[in-house]
């Protein structure tokens, strides 16, 4: 396997971008975007994670098979999220008798 040497300059640029991303997250946390609060936070986090995987973990310079493994694992994560959301998004739809207890019932008195 060939080792790719990444120049310190690229590492520095990525590091500064990540710091900027952190600053953006903090800034966004102090502003109310309504329903987009979580979307913005996750978008910044995903962007940062992508940079880490591509540059710090060298995925960009890795063999195709390694890249395939990474894509597959993201697909696996998607399975978990999509099928879990399949539950959350359909809760309460046309459910009268089988409705799950509301959260408030589970709180300790």
């Amino acid at each position: 396997m060939s080792e790719h040497i990444v120049s310190p300059k690229i590492y520095l640029v990525i590091f500064l971008t990540l710091m900027a991303g952190t600053a953006a997250t903090v800034w966004a946390a102090y502003h109310n975007f309504g329903a987009f609060n979580i979307v913005i936070a996750l978008a910044i986090a995903t962007f940062k994670a992508t940079l880490v995987v591509l540059y710090f973990m060298h995925a960009r310079y890795s063999p195709k098979r390694t890249q395939l493994v990474i894509v597959c694992s993201i697909f696996w994560l998607a399975i978990m999220l999509v099928l879990t959301l399949a539950d959350y998004r359909t809760r309460g739809m046309h459910e009268s008798r089988l409705a799950p207890p509301s959260n408030s019932n589970l709180v300790r008195a």
């Binding site: 696996w76 099928l83 539950d87 809760r91 309460g92 739809m93 799950p100 959260n103 709180v107 300790r108």
Partner: protein, 558 residues
């Protein structure tokens, strides 16, 4: 029938093998030899099997009478929890992969060791550290949440030692991930010349599928249990509704791993059966590529079915319908395997050696376990039998009747390779039948109890259930004998057993082409494979004399 065995020559033990190459405690504790690490695992999983077995014994004694006379209700909760945690995380999941897989995968593919020998040793140490945390939890107040750690009981209300237990399982997860990673890389990169993917033994295919589950699923359970620990210690709101969390989210995350974990237990066992059956039917396995493909299919589909554990715990009806349908799909690759094994037997020259008895036991018990799984995947029926002894019986048929039968059968099959010695055959057959009878007597009554409505995890029951409970306890004592016997005679055989020779059965795999026990480097010369898997016909080296036509090899040239 089609072949006869020539008179067995007298064998001698090899002068130097992996067992006597070096001596002393240090040579074992710092070894990077996959075969020695397998034996280290064998010792440690046996310890946990004893601990889990002890708890099971106490449960069954307690349930002899309707009101239970052995322990308090609180202790009873702890007994079934600790039984589950010890057996699942520290015995069943590592048993076949870390013991037999570790020992055999490099031998079967013609490699000198696994791809990362030091990582292999590290995974054993991680297992030990995780195990110590869990034993600490058992010893300092125990654990009463059920092995499923459902929140908010585990994260808020339980007064038992949950935190060390979840930390232990979190740590142990890394052991599983490293083992899986090691197997995947080894199978991809270290196959001997001529060992194509479709010449791999089915045991290796099964372990490849298992490793995928280990690598993809284990991180989820590790992090989920860590979140439970964080919620418990620092009151961070993940699963506790009072802190803004959602308890059902825990169940989703838990079962995303813990259902595929069942396939971590059963797939390697199926791999063992796929090796035993052609050997003792003296026939190439029927449908090689379908069995190999079904292992991968089980691993993949196994990830899509988890919420069938949650039909009555508050998930939406639509999700339940989806998961019910997906759960039925697992039956297809499972049935492919069972039909192929039975087809292999057809017109075979079957011998009733001990491993074959275990293989037959496996097929029958797995069939019952699998079919009752379909009952539970059925939405309407599951509402009736959810959390009853029907479920307990079902998963014991899979985990004990399936996984443990395969493990013990595999131990017998490869014992001559591991130790170089043969065990007493008659005693071993008696033990195999004892185990089968004991198992069925223990768990079949539980199907009936569950169907009649006896809930699981209760320390008492109505008097009308007593007869079946007594039967179950009686079966458990026979089952215990079935486990103790092999432990005794296998240990005995290490010193006093007859010398086995390289290939006592004979079997066709590459592991049988080297000495028993193998040398540290596995093979004196890197082998070259020019035969098809399970092909008894074109293998004059096996010493079988053909007296009739043998069927074609399992698979064409790849």
């Amino acid at each position: 029938m089609s072949t006869t065995t020539l008179p067995a020559p007298v064998h001698k033990m090899p002068r130097e093998d992996y067992l006597n190459a070096t001596y002393g405690l240090r040579s074992w504790l710092l070894t990077t030899d996959h075969k020695r690490i397998a034996l280290l695992y064998l010792g440690s999983v046996t310890v946990f099997f004893f601990i889990g077995g002890l708890f099971a014994t106490m449960i069954r004694i307690h349930l002899l009478t309707p009101n239970g006379f052995l322990v308090t209700p609180e202790t009873y909760n702890k007994l079934f929890t600790m039984h589950g945690v010890a057996m699942i995380f520290f015995f069943l999941i590592p048993s076949i992969p870390a013991v037999l897989g570790n020992f055999l995968i490099p031998l079967m593919i013609g490699a000198k060791d696994l791809a990362f020998p030091k990582l292999n040793l590290l995974s054993w140490y991680i297992y030990l550290v995780g195990g110590c945390f869990v034993l600490y939890s058992f010893g300092t107040g125990g654990l009463d949440t059920g092995w499923t750690f459902y929140t908010p009981l585990s994260s808020v209300y339980s007064n038992s030692a949950v935190t060390p237990a979840v930390i232990g399982i979190f740590i142990n997860g890394f052991s599983s991930i490293l083992t899986g990673l090691n197997f995947i890389v080894t199978i991809h990169t270290m196959r001997a010349p001529g060992m194509t993917w479709f010449r791999l033994p089915l045991f290796v295919w099964a372990h490849y599928a298992t490793s995928l589950v280990m690598v993809l699923g284990t991180p989820v359970i590790a992090i989920t249990l860590l979140l439970v620990g964080l919620e418990r210690m620092f009151h961070l709101g993940f699963f506790n509704p009072a802190l803004g969390g959602d308890p059902i989210l825990f169940q989703h995350l838990f079962w995303f791993y813990s259902h595929p974990a069942v396939y971590i237990m059963i797939l390697p066992s199926m791999g063992v059966i796929s090796e035993i059956i052609p050997t003792f039917a003296r026939k190439p396995i029927f449908g090689y590529s379908f069995i190999a493909g079904s292992s991968i299919a089980i691993a993949v589909i196994g990830f899509l079915v988890w919420a069938h554990h949650m039909f009555v715990t508050g998930e939406s009806t639509y999700a339940a319908l989806t998961f019910s349908f997906l759960s039925y799909l697992v039956a297809i690759p499972s049935a492919v395997k069972v039909f192929n094994w039975t087809s292999t037997l057809y017109q075979g020259s079957i011998s009733w050696d001990t491993p074959m008895i275990y293989a037959f036991g496996f097929i029958g018990l797995f069939l019952i376990g699998g079919l009752t799984g379909l009952f539970l995947a059925c939405l309407g029926l599951d509402i009736h039998i959810h959390d009853t002894y029907f479920v307990v019986a079902h998963f014991h048929y899979i985990m004990v009747g399936g996984a443990v039968m395969g493990y013990v059968g595999g131990l017998h099959f490869w014992w001559p390779k591991i130790t170089g010695k043969l065990y007493p055959e008659v005693l071993a057959r008696i033990a195999a039948v004892t185990l089968f009878v004991g198992f069925n007597l223990t768990f079949f009554p539980q199907f009936m109890l569950g169907y009649m409505g006896m809930p699981r995890r209760y320390h008492t029951y109505p008097p009308e259930f007593q007869v079946l409970n007594v039967l179950s306890t009686a079966g458990a004592s026979i089952l215990a004998l079935g486990y103790l016997l092999p432990m005794l005679y296998l240990t005995w055989s290490m010193r006093y057993g007859r010398v086995a020779g390289p290939n006592p059965w004979p079997a066709t795999g590459l592991e049988w082409k080297t000495a028993s026990p193998p040398p540290t480097e596995n093979f004196d010369v890197t082998p070259e494979v020019d035969w098809e898997p399970y092909d008894f016909r074109n293998r004059p080296d096996l010493g079988l004399a053909a007296s009739g036509p043998l069927p074609a090899p399992a698979h064409g040239d790849d």
